[in-house]
Amino acid sequence: MELILASAIGIMTAAGIYLVLRLRTFPVILGISLLTYAVNVFLFTSGRARVGAPPVLRDDITTYTDPLPQALVLTAIVISFGMTAVIVMISLGAFLGSDDDQVNDQPDPPQDRSEGSS
């Protein structure tokens, strides 16, 4: 269980960092999403990975899993969902405004402009 969780976090983080370092907005968004997934799973495991244990008090059960990280992850998921929606909208605006999805918005090269006017 620990191995699966740890490698999932590791792979998602690695892929996320690789994508965030690209210079195009679409991979950057994907990368940020992957990083958020990774950190959500990470947050989840910070309450110790325990299989088959309930998070709420019950009779005749002695081992519990910590409910707080689950609540934290729920909050974090909602917030990161909202954030992703915002960044998708902004990037879409940038893409439509400049016809490419470079992170650094380059000014139009001069020859393009003269072609457009002629």
């Binding site: 940020i32 958020t36 947050l43 910070s46 917030i79 915002v86 918005d105």
Partner: protein, 499 residues
């Protein structure tokens, strides 16, 4: 008691809702001003209570301290809330003239109030995860404000801002996860007790550095500040004023809070990193500013440079240095927001913020020149303005512990700040306008003129008052610093006092 702490958060949220519902009507903007005024009153009441009774804490939903969400105000939080309210009011008045109806219809005032609510919430919360939530509230509304109007330049700056801030959020969350895994609590007061019992102090230092990077991105310190000059010169002037005044300061506040309350176990390591960071932040910021030719870009780089001074206060970690940091924080918010407001008026009069294409302001609008000089000289540290005392405290704190080199850096950076300010003065105010435009103040409608000039004059007056009678402010900062360095009262108020 709990209402006193909740009101500064509830008021801006309520105002945001009302302003959003009235966004199509001209009354919307006045709701924003009214809400800011109420926030100022509420924060004043909170301040009075904190001054009389010491640290005030309230448990939300009556869940006792380490389990529920705690709101807590010590002197630092209280003064930050007051200064946020003052800046908020100044910008809300300024926005009456600065924000056009198109932006109002898109919900400018609602976003602005949510931003203020997020900032106040971050100052008042006593819970680490709650701090994350307030950061996100602040960020989402600031994204909205940043790209409001949707020019290409704004969106370009906005993407960098969003991406880098999200990365910092991710680091912050991982730090929260690690800290919870080690201590089993996220209440800051409880954490300050719990970290002492952690066996693996080395891992604690790693977590401390993660928080340092996460808050460092928000505070725009070297080498994490690149999003700031890329985006702060693009939005409306009232937006960049409130960003410049408040947003980065939330990061600085979080650094000060965490590195005095929780991460004080290995000062020799963490605070040495902070000292280097402070030095490089000051120098790179001011050199970046020297290379710029745009009014707002120069000011943006100066934010970075000034953040270095506040971090310096935290890094030296003597009582006097923390006094200096607190004083600097308050002084800087007032001055920086004001400079951006002046830049807005200058742009309105001359038609641009590019220093090469404007000029003649001193000849035709000497009053504006006067209003610019007060915050500009204060920023550079001229006596008797507020910036002089702020720098004096920090340099003295550095010299007291024989940190000669960093004291020299701080003074040299002050000198370079004067260089940038005289550049703005020479280009925008003294030189004649290259196109022969006469930027007279009466070019602006009378109805627009007073909302533009009143906040600038008000903030400038505040700068002068702090400068001429620094005594009560320094005494206040001393008490705040005492509370920060001896957090027993803070911890007792949160954990002991059920309210």
């Amino acid at each position: 008691m709990s209402w006193l702490l909740a009101f500064p958060i509830i008021i801006p949220f309520a105002t945001a809702v009302i302003a959003f519902l009235n966004r199509d009507k001209p009354t919307g903007r006045w709701w924003s001003v009214l809400g800011s005024l109420l926030l100022l009153l509420a924060s004043g009441a909170l301040m009075v209570r904190v001054l009389q009774e010491g640290v005030v804490a309230a448990q939300m939903g009556q869940w006792a301290a380490p389990f529920g969400i705690t709101l807590v105000a010590d002197l630092l939080s209280a003064v930050m809330v007051v200064i946020t309210a003052i800046t908020g009011l100044a910008v809300a008045v300024y926005a009456l003239a600065d924000i056009d109806t198109a932006k109002e219809k898109l919900g400018y005032h609602a976003l602005f109030q949510v931003l203020i609510a997020g900032v106040v919430g971050a100052f008042l919360t006593g819970d680490l995860f709650n701090l994350y939530v307030w950061f996100e509230v602040m960020l989402i509304s600031s994204f909205g404000l940043l790209i409001l109007g949707g020019s290409r330049e704004q969106i370009d700056g906005g993407i960098k801002y969003v991406a880098l801030n999200l990365v910092s959020t991710i680091l912050f969350l991982s730090g929260v996860g690690l800290l919870y895994g080690m201590t089993g609590t996220l209440n800051m007061a409880d954490l300050s007790l719990a970290v002492e019992e952690v066996e693996n102090q080395g891992l604690l230092t790693v977590i401390a550095v993660m928080f340092m990077v996460a808050f460092g991105v928000k505070a725009a310190v070297f080498p994490l500040f690149f999003w700031l000059p890329a985006s702060y010169h693009t939005p409306a002037f009232s937006v960049s004023a409130v960003f410049a005044g408040l947003l980065t300061k939330v990061g600085v506040y979080a650094l000060i809070r965490m590195f005095t309350l929780v991460f004080d176990h290995d000062i020799g390591f963490t605070h040495t990193i902070l000292l280097w960071v402070a030095g490089f932040t000051m120098v790179t910021g001011v050199l970046g500013a020297a290379a710029q030719q745009d009014f707002r870009k120069i000011l943006s780089f100066h934010i970075v440079s000034q953040i270095g001074y506040m971090i310096l206060g935290l890094a030296l970690y003597t009582p006097l240095a923390i006094v200096g940091a607190v004083f600097y924080l308050v002084h800087h918010i007032v001055v920086k927001a004001n400079l951006f407001l002046v830049a807005g008026v200058a742009q309105r009069l001359t038609g641009s913020t590019d220093l090469r294409r404007i000029g003649g302001l001193y000849k035709s609008a000497p009053f504006l020149g006067f209003l610019f000089l007060i915050p500009a000289f204060s920023l550079a540290g001229f006596p008797p303005l507020s910036g002089f005392w702020a720098k004096y405290l920090l340099v003295k704190a550095a010299l007291d512990i024989d940190a000669w080199f960093i004291a020299f850096v701080a003074l040299a950076v002050g000198l370079l700040t004067i260089f940038s300010m005289t550049k703005i003065w020479g280009e925008a105010f003294w030189k004649p306008h290259p196109d022969g435009v006469e930027p007279k103040l009466n070019k602006i409608d009378r109805a627009d003129l007073w909302p533009l000039l009143l906040p600038i004059a008000g903030l400038a007056t505040l700068t002068v008052i702090i400068g001429l009678s620094p005594e009560p402010f320094v005494q206040f900062a001393e008490r705040a610093s005492d509370q920060l360095l001896n957090p027993q009262a803070y911890v007792a108020a949160v954990l002991g006092g059920a309210s």
